[in-house]
C-alpha cells in the first residue's frame, strides 16, 4: 500500500528557510559534472608523467595491477601474500582489473585466508575466541530473544544435518557451506 500520506504529523513539511545555513552553498553552476578539468581552481596543469620523489623501497612482496607500469610511490605492507591464499592472489594479479579472473579468485583467496588465520592461531598455541571476535556479548545484551532463536535454529539445523548425514546409506553429498564462519 502506497498509503503513507505525505503530510503525516510525523513528517511535517519543512520550510527550508527556517534551516540554519539554507542555500549558503547554492551555486547555479553546480551541474553534475564536477570536477571538470577547466573549472579546477588548482592552477597547475595535470602532468601525467610526474611522480613524487623517493619511491618507497620495495622490500616486501607487493602485488601490482597489470594496468600500471610500476609500483606506486608509496604502498601499504601489512600482509604480504603467504600460503595457499598467497598463491591464489598471485595468480589473480596476472589478470587485469577488467577480468573476473582477477576479482573472483581474490574473494576465494580471502576465504582460504580465514582458514589459514585459524590454523595460524592454533599453531601459535592460541585458541581463537570466536564468541568474542564476533561480538556476541552485544547480541546477548541488546538482542537476546532474537539471538537465542537464531542460535537455536542453527543448532537444530546442524543437529538435523548430522542425523541426516550419519543415517543415510548414500555417500554424504558435499554440502557446500560457503562462508561458513559468517552464516550467523
Amino acid at each position: 500500500m502506497e498509503s503513507t500520506p505525505k503530510n503525516t504529523p510525523k513528517n511535517p513539511r519543512i520550510d527550508p528557510k527556517q534551516i540554519k545555513g539554507w542555500g549558503i552553498d547554492a551555486d547555479p553552476k553546480n551541474d553534475p559534472t564536477y570536477p571538470m578539468r577547466q573549472r579546477m581552481n588548482v592552477g597547475q596543469d595535470p602532468d601525467s608523467k610526474h611522480r613524487p620523489d623517493h619511491l618507497q623501497p620495495e622490500d616486501t612482496e607487493v602485488l601490482r595491477s597489470i594496468e600500471r607500469p610500476n609500483v606506486s610511490a608509496v604502498f601499504g605492507t601489512p600482509a604480504p601474500p603467504t600460503g595457499l591464499s598467497g598463491l591464489i592472489r598471485r595468480a589473480a594479479f596476472k589478470y587485469s582489473e577488467n577480468e573476473y579472473k582477477h576479482w573472483l579468485p581474490l574473494i576465494v583467496a580471502d576465504r582460504v585466508n580465514v582458514v589459514e588465520g585459524i590454523v595460524g592461531d592454533l599453531a601459535h598455541g592460541k585458541l581463537p575466541n570466536i564468541w568474542a571476535e564476533k561480538g556476541y556479548d552485544m547480541e546477548w545484551k541488546h538482542n537476546r530473544t532474537a539471538f537465542i532463536t537464531k542460535l537455536a535454529t542453527i543448532g537444530a539445523v546442524t543437529a538435523g544435518l548430522v542425523v541426516w548425514l550419519s543415517s543415510g546409506k548414500k555417500k554424504p553429498t558435499k554440502t557446500v557451506k560457503k562462508d561458513y564462519l559468517s552464516r550467523f
Binding site: 513528517n11 542555500g23 553546480n30 578539468r37 602485488l63 601489512p78 600482509a79 552485544m138 541488546h142 559468517s182
Partner: protein, 384 residues
Amino acid sequence: MLAMDYRGPKRVRAVQKPMPEIKHPQDAIVRVLRTCICGSDLHLYNGNVPDTRVGSTFGHEFVGEIVEIGADVTKVKVGDRVLVPFNIACGECHFCRQGMFGNCHESNTESTAVGAIFGYSHTAGGYNGGQAEYARVPYANVGPTIIPPDMDLDDAVLLTDVVPTGYQAAEMAGIQTGDTVVVFGAGPIGIVAARCAWLFGAGRVIIIDQEDYRLEFARNYSYCEAYNFKEMNDPVVFIKKITDWMGADCVIDAVGAEAAGNTMQTVTGRKLLLQAGSATALHWAINSVKKGGVVSIVGVYGPTDNLVPIGNMMNKGLTIRGNQTSVKRLLPRLIEHVQNGVLNPKGLITHRIPLEDVADGYRMFSAKLDNCIKTVLMPPTANQ
C-alpha cells in the same frame, strides 16, 4: 601497540601488533586520539571486499597527534594534532593536480580504479588503518590537516570522511534551489547528505530507510521527511506518488552493497556472494529519479557488481555521478560550517567504545543494536 585485527567475515579482535614505521620520507606516524567505525567498514567486516587479508587493521576515520615525521615532511610537525582524510593522496600526480585527491595514482599499487584508503583492503592499497594506537600516514604534507585549537576532536574525526562524503554526495547531486532530493540510507552518511542538501538550496528532502530509530534520528538531525520502505509495497512508486508522479530531481544512493529490501539481491549478493553485494538501492535510485535527474552514488559497491563495474564507476568518479570524496578540497568550507554552527558533526555520535572491545563495536553497528548511529573507538593511549 594495540590494534584491531581482522580474522574473517564478522570476526575481529584487538591484539598487540608491531609499531608502524616510517617507510617513505613523506611519512608520519600518528598517535590515534579518536577513530570511528564506518558503514563502509561493514563491507570489509562482512567479507565483501576482494583482497581483505586476515591480520589487517581497518579504520579510515581517525584523528591524532603526530609523534614522528620523515625527512621530507614540512607541513606538520611532531606534536601537531591532525585530522587525517581517509584517502591517501600524493598531491603531485595527474589526478591530484586536478583536485581529485580521492583518485591519486601514486598510493595504490594494486588497483587503478580504486584510490588508496587507510585500512580498506589491499584493493585500496593495503594500508593498515587507524583503529589502533598508532598509524602510519603517508604523504603527511598533503592529507593531514591541523585541527583548529577550538575544534572538538569528536567534530574533527567526523570531518575525515562522514561529513565531507555526505556533503559531496549532495554536491554531486547537482542540487538546484527548490529541488526535491531523495536520500536512500539513513546511516551517518545519508543523514549528513540530507542535512547538506539544504545547504545547496533543496526545497524538499526525503530520506528512506528500514530502521525506525535511524529515521527518527534523521528527522531530528537533518530536518527532513523520513519514511520506512518496509511500510511500502514499492519505494519507487511511493516516491513517484509523493512527487506528483514526476520522480525526485536528485537521488543520492548512500547505501551501497549492503542494501536490504530485495530478496533476490540479498540472496545472490549478500548470502551467496555471487555478486559483490546487493544493488537494491542503486536500482531504486535510478528508477525513482526524474527524467533528466541526477543520481549521486556514494554507497560502496564491489569493483564489479551485477556483472557491471558499478564500483569502478564510483571509484573513478565518472559522470553518472559518483566518487570517493576529495576530503581535502572540502575541508576549508566544512571547517567554516562547523565553526559557524551550520553543521554539528559530533551530534551523530551515539556510542563510545574502548578499542579493546572493537568486536563488540562492530557487532553493535552491523546488527544495528542499541540504536547505534555512529561509534567512536577510543585507543587506550588516547588518554582523554
